[in-house]
């Protein structure tokens, strides 16, 4: 089964390799890839991914792994990635931290 991902990345060194490497290491294969410049926001990757047959990979989990990468600004996979238990990803699910907390 194919999954379509749309990913916005910055143009820092290795950004594309980090994205592709994370996808491959997490049990998916890239079947199609298109990359276009999106003004000064960076580059838009449109990917078609196939899950390895022996892998239990959930697209929602892959979304969250990709979101952790420093050059990744946004990941869309048809709305997946948002944890079903809250309906929101963490940065949206939580109230903002107090200024200076955690430093």
């Amino acid at each position: 089964m194919m999954e379509r991902f749309s990913i916005l990345i910055d143009d820092s060194e290795g950004a594309l390799m980090r994205v592709i490497g994370t996808i491959e290491r997490r049990g998916w294969r890239v079947r199609a890839l298109a990359m276009t410049r999106e003004g000064n926001r960076g580059c838009r990757l449109e990917l078609e991914l196939a899950r390895l047959p022996w892998h239990r990979g959930d697209p929602a989990i892959l979304v969250r792994h990709l979101e952790k990468l420093i050059p990744v600004a946004a990941v869309d996979c048809g709305g997946r990635g948002a944890p079903p238990w809250t309906g929101q990803t963490p940065d949206r699910a939580m109230v903002p931290a107090a200024a200076g907390a955690g430093a």
């Binding site: 290795g14 944890p83 940065d91 931290a97 200076g100 955690g102």
Partner: protein, 567 residues
């Protein structure tokens, strides 16, 4: 980058500096005090800049020793460890340490030299694609290709390494950049980004889940210490009286002799802990990630339990086991917010207490030889509260986890995720620089010690009072045990009966050393080891056929433990 510009350090360089000097000043501006490294050609401009710097550089005898030492330093201090190596083989020798830090979420900044920019991609001497080789084993990385960006990227590297779920960040520095002049200016300091706080509605749902549970159990992982949430965790346990099991890296989140603590769970966990997990109806997972060594067969793990998952890393939630509810963000704040009030779990507490009573460790092994679990327990009791144990990997690592007493998570340094033999002694070097007054003991085996034996020279060079307990079974014991049990006893390449005389070897390196092999020598040997001045090694010959029990076979459920058949 977080607020590096806003928090610019006052110390601006007083003159034009080289890129290497700027890098060293940028490290100073991050508050770095100690770095662990090994020089070489491409990194020479940085080593040149270290002359006269207030930074303390510890010269190890292998780059893997350097990064493991930085790892140990980071785990004990909670601050980012720093390691430096040259290009090519120096950089590739860091790879295992980077993978170790990534697996165990340890904040490290690794700096590697690189050939000059015009030579990159030309197969130059000592050139490898360090950036590419290390991509899968770092949290992030930069090539410092612009001399003027060095201060900002160093600050950013420190911010990334320590933010959220910590991890290693690599800075690859081309030699011509390190030698280029850089204009004087202020040096920013990287600060970790704050984590999100728990949402009130989610906290309310979590609190309700805890109240409703009949058999709630806390599954504590290394994320508690990483989040600096040990105090909040202990307060939560005191408030609720919930029983606790821990992963290898969660040991010490509450003292291992606390009445609520049931023990290590998983493959070599104790029976009480594993049975409690299987019985629980709510697993409150704190900074843990359902690692296969903890869960056994995932589908059979805690089969009756709902999952409440507290973690800094959203990608861990649902990765292995679906969560019924998650609080992703600041673990300490989440624990502080969870106040379910009095819980009706008296019968569950009695049940878990009964499990503990029924499955206490036994130390009455037959024979006159040294029984490793008993030795480790006695050592731990004799060493006292400030003991820090650094482990290698193998049977001794599991015995240490099972039988040593840990009163805080920083007291147990172990290569949990990667399982890297050779970690113990360098980690001990790092721990002794992090806590110079602490009593640091490395527990190692005859296989593991040979992985980084050269670091005995580092111990002697700096006269670091590391105490090494070498449990010698003349074999790669854990592999031998598995070959015995799961491969019909066909032993393949596990025999180490041609080991060197370890005590003599240690003496050649300048350590005090002693060998024992009988049970009645243990007490005196522990006294000798702990009382020795400077570095010392206690070589302990043990039964080559000793096994680690219990053992959950691969693919089995955690209650299906194999146990020793001693009467």
């Amino acid at each position: 980058m977080t607020d590096a510009a806003a928090s610019a350090a006052a110390a601006a360089p007083s003159r034009t500096a080289s890129g290497g000097e700027m890098l060293v000043r940028a490290l100073e501006a991050q508050g770095v005090e100690v770095i662990f490294g090994y020089p070489g050609g491409a990194i020479m401009p940085v080593y040149d800049a270290l002359v006269g710097s207030p930074l303390t550089h510890i010269l190890t005898r292998h780059e893997q020793g350097a990064i493991f030492a930085a790892d140990g330093y980071a785990r004990v201090t909670g601050r980012t460890g720093v390691t430096i190596a040259t290009s090519g083989p120096g950089a590739t020798n860091l790879v295992t340490g980077l993978a170790n830090a990534l697996a165990d979420s340890v904040p490290i900044v690794a700096i590697t030299g690189q050939v000059a920019r015009p030579l990159m991609g030309s197969d130059a001497f000592q050139e490898v694609d360090t950036f590419g080789i290390t991509l899968p084993v770092v949290k992030h990385s930069f090539i410092l290709s612009d001399p003027d960006s060095i201060p900002e990227l160093v600050a950013e590297a420190f911010a990334i390494a320590a933010s959220g779920r910590p991890g290693p960040v690599l800075l690859d520095l081309p030699k011509d950049v390190a030698m280029a002049p850089v204009a004087a200016r202020a040096l920013p300091r990287g600060r970790p980004a704050p984590l999100p706080l728990p949402e009130a509605a989610a906290v309310a749902r979590a609190t309700a889940m805890i109240r409703e549970a009949k058999r709630p159990l806390v599954y504590a992982g290394g994320g508690i210490a990483l989040a600096g949430a040990t105090a909040a965790f202990r307060a939560f346990i005191r408030r609720t009286g919930l029983p606790v099991v821990a992963t290898l890296k969660g040991l010490g989140a509450i003292p291992t002799d606390a009445p609520e603590f049931l023990g290590l769970l998983g493959m070599h966990g104790n029976k009480a802990a594993n049975l409690a997990v299987q019985r629980s109806d709510l697993l409150i997972t704190c900074g843990a990630r359902f690692d296969d060594r903890a869960t056994g067969r995932v589908d059979g793990f805690a089969p009756e339990a709902r999952i409440l998952h507290l973690d800094a890393d959203a990608a861990e939630v649902g990765k292995i086991r679906a969560a019924d509810l998650a609080l992703v963000g600041d673990l300490g704040q989440a624990l502080e917010a969870l106040r379910p009030g009095p819980l009706a779990i008296t019968s569950w507490q009695q049940e878990t207490a009964q499990l503990m009573k029924a499955h206490v460790w036994r130390y009455d092994a037959p024979g006159e030889g040294v029984y490793a679990p008993a030795l480790l327990r006695a050592l731990s009791e004799a060493a006292g509260e400030d003991l820090i144990v650094t482990c290698d990997v193998g049977q001794h690592q599991m015995w240490a986890a099972q039988h040593c007493r840990f009163t805080r998570p920083e007291a147990h340094l172990t290569s949990g995720g990667l399982g890297a033999m050779g970690y113990g002694i360098p980690a001990g070097i790092g721990a002794l620089h992090a806590a110079p007054g602490a009593r640091v003991v490395t527990v190692t085996g005859d296989g593991s010690i040979m992985m980084n034996i050269q670091e005995l020279a580092t111990l002697n060079r700096y006269r670091l009072p590391l105490k090494i307990v070498l449990l010698d079974n003349q074999a790669l014991g854990m592999v031998r045990q598995w070959q015995d049990i799961f491969f019909d006893g066909r032993l393949s390449e596990v025999d180490l009966s041609d080991n060197p005389d370890f005590a003599a070897l240690a003496r050649v390196f300048g350590l005090a050393a002693r060998t024992i092999e009988h049970r009645d020598e243990v007490a005196g040997a522990i006294d000798w080891l702990l009382g020795a001045e400077g570095p010392a090694l206690l070589h302990v010959k043990i039964d080559p056929l000793a096994n680690v029990w219990p053992l959950v076979p691969p693919g089995a459920d955690n209650h299906e433990m194999l146990e020793e058949t001693r009467q």
